[in-house]
Amino acid sequence: MAVSIKSLQNDRKNTGTNALILPSLSSPTSWDLWKVSNGVLTPIGQRDPSQINRRRKGSILALPTTDVFCVSLWLNETDQAKFPSMISLQLEGRGFKLSEGSRAFDWSPVTFENGKALVMVGILPNKLLPALLAANFDWFDAAVRFREYTEDSLTIWQEQGRLCLAFTRGKQLVHFQALTENVLNPSTIRDIACIVTSLQMQEVLKNLKSIVLWFKTDPEGSKSLGTALSVNINSASPPKPRLPDRDWTLQLAGTAESKKFHHRLQWRDRTLKCISLAYGLALLFILGHLLITLHLISSINSWQQENKLNLETIHQDISTWEFLTPLVETKDYPLETLLHCATSLSPAGTHLTLYEQVDGNITIKAESQNIRLADAFLEKLTHEPALSDYHWVRPQPQVLPNDLAQFEINGTREPTKY
């Protein structure tokens, strides 16, 4: 009993795919880029896969039919969870060498009949073109799956300079294959007949009703093909691509390592860019700081220039006033300082023997009845508010046998500054 395939398949309309790259059917070397939006494909243009941004997430690179090998298998199992291991065993039995850890094949169920399942398996070759590798896609799909085919038909088209075949069983694509040549000639017709016979013998093809040609060929060739296979031949334009119901995620062995390598490269690039950016910003900051400093220097110089005359006048006035300091600083008049010194004398017991004041420096010679009175005089002199600008120094007094203390005190102060 046939199981509904659609119920088993994923809806890939919401998988986040945003671009599809397909081998062009109009040119053997170029690739068509399609924008995917809500499951609708819109053509963008033609380009090389290496031109696609490798960091672009959600892009699908659909490999040409020449780069994916197809095997249609009958499995004695309908539990799809067991399909991968069964397919793997069958492929190894047929001589395919599958690298460990790779996902070199993927499959799509075609039909389920009498407890058996017919699956179409796509297998990646061991190597891909360098341009495809450089594009650094995480996985690949097969371009043949993105076309819509007539029911129970064989569709033939030219792709990447070779003839390609796609067989349908009912509406489902069941097998595809690329030939070595790109024209219909007796050799290719014989090959196609062999393939059809082989598929029919394997009961992969059930009822081939028609052949559809998507390319222009000579009438004789198409007639010969129709005669060889005993079916009608129709010509048609290739339909617009459509998204298959289920993803294929074909991965080459080593793709994960390649991805890690690319990932490391990305981080290295990012780090270098960050360092360059930080370096550039630091340079800009220093340059900006320098420019601001130069601007400030310039503005201060301008200010100085503007006020030069006023400042020169003031400096002249200050110099004149400093010259007049002995006249205008009344607190430093000798008689005033003598008076303040005299008030520091004790009521009795100390008397001055010399008072001298020259250019603000004071020398006092005095005698006290004892050393304590001499100390008291110095103490008072030091704490006299009017003489606070002076720094007083008194060498050790000379004490006479009768306790009389003779001493000298020197007072100095800094010249008055304005």
Partner: protein, 175 residues
């Protein structure tokens, strides 16, 4: 699997980066040196500006002082006569206070910015009271006389004091 020649692809970019790094490192050292010099220069100028701003804030005061000097400071006649006048004024005062004049001499003429000064050295003996009255007479800024040095010590008899002083008078420079 043949990996794409990624290293080869990055060689031009890396070369450019290295060249840029070398050039910018050299440029950066120059830039930093220049920045350091400019910063020091700015600090110096800012300090000067602060001082000058403070001076400009006091401009009115200095204008008043300059005006006072111009208005009241005497002008000098002939140099010799001026010195003699200063000495004579000092002696006259001493006589008036009954001080005995011990010694007298003319001092040097000193020139300052926009002003000059003339001094006279006198040594007198007398009572402390008379001496103070005499000195006090010269401590009047309005007349531009002042005592710049003073030395007092008691006489041998301890009844009087001996005083040596320098009397100075300031004049404004005549242009």
């Amino acid at each position: 699997m043949n990996l794409p020649n990624i290293n080869g692809r990055n060689i031009p970019w890396m070369t450019v980066l290295v060249v840029i790094l070398v050039l910018t490192t050299y440029g950066l050292s120059l830039l930093l040196r220049k920045q350091s010099e400019c910063s020091h220069e700015l600090d110096r100028l800012q300090a000067i500006q602060r001082t000058n701003r403070a001076l400009l804030d006091q401009k009115d005061l200095w204008d008043k002082r300059a005006k006072w000097i111009k208005q009241f400071a005497p002008t000098q006649d002939e140099e010799g006569k001026t010195k003699a006048d200063v000495l004579e004024a000092a002696l006259q005062g001493a006589r008036e206070q009954h001080l005995r004049i011990i010694a007298q001499s003319l001092g040097e003429l000193q020139r300052g910015p926009a002003c000059l000064s003339v001094s006279a050295n006198i040594k007198v003996q007398g009572t402390m009271e008379s001496l103070c009255r005499w000195i006090n007479a010269w401590q009047t800024p309005e007349n531009f006389y002042t005592v710049t040095s003073l030395s007092i010590h008691p006489s041998e008899d301890h009844k009087t004091v001996i005083c040596a002083l320098t009397l100075k008078r300031f004049f404004q420079e005549t242009k």
